[in-house]
């Protein structure tokens, strides 16, 4: 059930919104909200400032659009990965592997929109709540996976799932910070294996 082809009045958008938002994601991830200027966005998107403002209202609107897309894409990928592995422990393992890949080498140095967004939280208005909610949602997801693993016997710890999720959440965000600094280890598998001790 894809939405109707379209039937909105007026001249249609000529730019590819997904592409533009991906370019914005790259810029904001690398430098944070304050470090990106409208001129930068104009340069990478090829759009004019006027068009950007018509489409997104202001700079925070562009950031918010980029963040929504980033989060949707990341949530989708997290969901797929979790669904594709059997049992709580395997799901968390797959998730750690994903983040290890995102944190390594050049990819890692491109940064994370959630981390740079949180760093610049004070500069954001309504969008700050989206970032906080994202942390909360990730935490809930991790806690659910831990609880699942405790039920299915793949996770031995008797600590409360929310407490273990606190650790995993911090670890995942920290991997991105270290990765941005270019210091995430090459041996991602070893990192993941050692991290799993948190579940024992």
């Amino acid at each position: 059930m894809p939405p109707e082809p379209r039937a909105v009045r007026g001249r249609p958008r000529a730019f590819n919104e997904a592409e533009v938002l991906d370019q914005a994601i790259a810029l904001f991830s690398a430098g944070g909200f304050a470090a990106v200027s409208i001129a930068d966005l104009v340069a990478v998107t090829g759009l004019s400032a006027g068009s950007l403002y018509k489409a997104y209202r202001d700079k925070e609107g562009i950031f918010a659009g980029a963040l929504d897309r980033y989060i949707a894409e990341r949530d989708r990928r997290l969901g797929d990965i979790a669904a594709g592995a059997p049992g709580g422990r395997a799901r968390i393992t797959a998730l750690l592997r994903l983040y290890a890949g995102l944190s390594q080498g050049e990819a890692g140095q491109r940064g994370c929109l959630v981390v740079s967004g949180i760093t610049g939280l004070d500069q954001l208005g309504a969008t700050a709540a989206v970032l906080r909610a994202t942390l909360a949602r990730r935490h809930a997801m991790l806690a659910a996976l831990v609880a699942e693993g405790q039920r299915d016997g793949s996770i031995a710890t008797t600590e409360p799932p929310e407490g273990v999720a606190d650790l995993l959440l911090a670890l995942l965000q920290g991997m991105r910070v270290v990765g941005k600094g270019g210091r995430f280890p090459e041996d991602g598998e070893g990192f993941v294996r050692r991290a799993l001790r948190l579940l024992d």
Copy 2:
């Protein structure tokens, strides 16, 4: 052996450098390099722009001065804490407790200069190397503590100390990110206790 009172030519500095740098640390920690303007620094320090430029050459110089002070202070505190606890495991425990305190509540939301600096790494010139070196130094310190714990029997894991240090480093930086988002748990002791599983 404190340095000679002084014997430099010319008019002496009238402002308290430690105080000014602490104010700069607060600003840059909260928002990152790009989010802080010279006007902001003028406002909180009470100095004029001209004086700031005479003392620190440019905006990155102010950031670099703040970062040096921040790192020196943090390293001193880490060293004290590590020295004050008996054995590798207890030292790492104390260190995790320190970071839990830094990440909680309002203090956590004030941010971390290292994290916000790394987020804005691309905007920094020579100072970027200082930040990367800081990550490397913290990693080395953690690895040394793990190795010590393995020797004294307080740390059971047979994983390489550097590998365990990778985890601890990411965890510590991630605690600050989650703390900036206002989502670090109130039960810091529980967090620390569960984190110590990484050493078993």
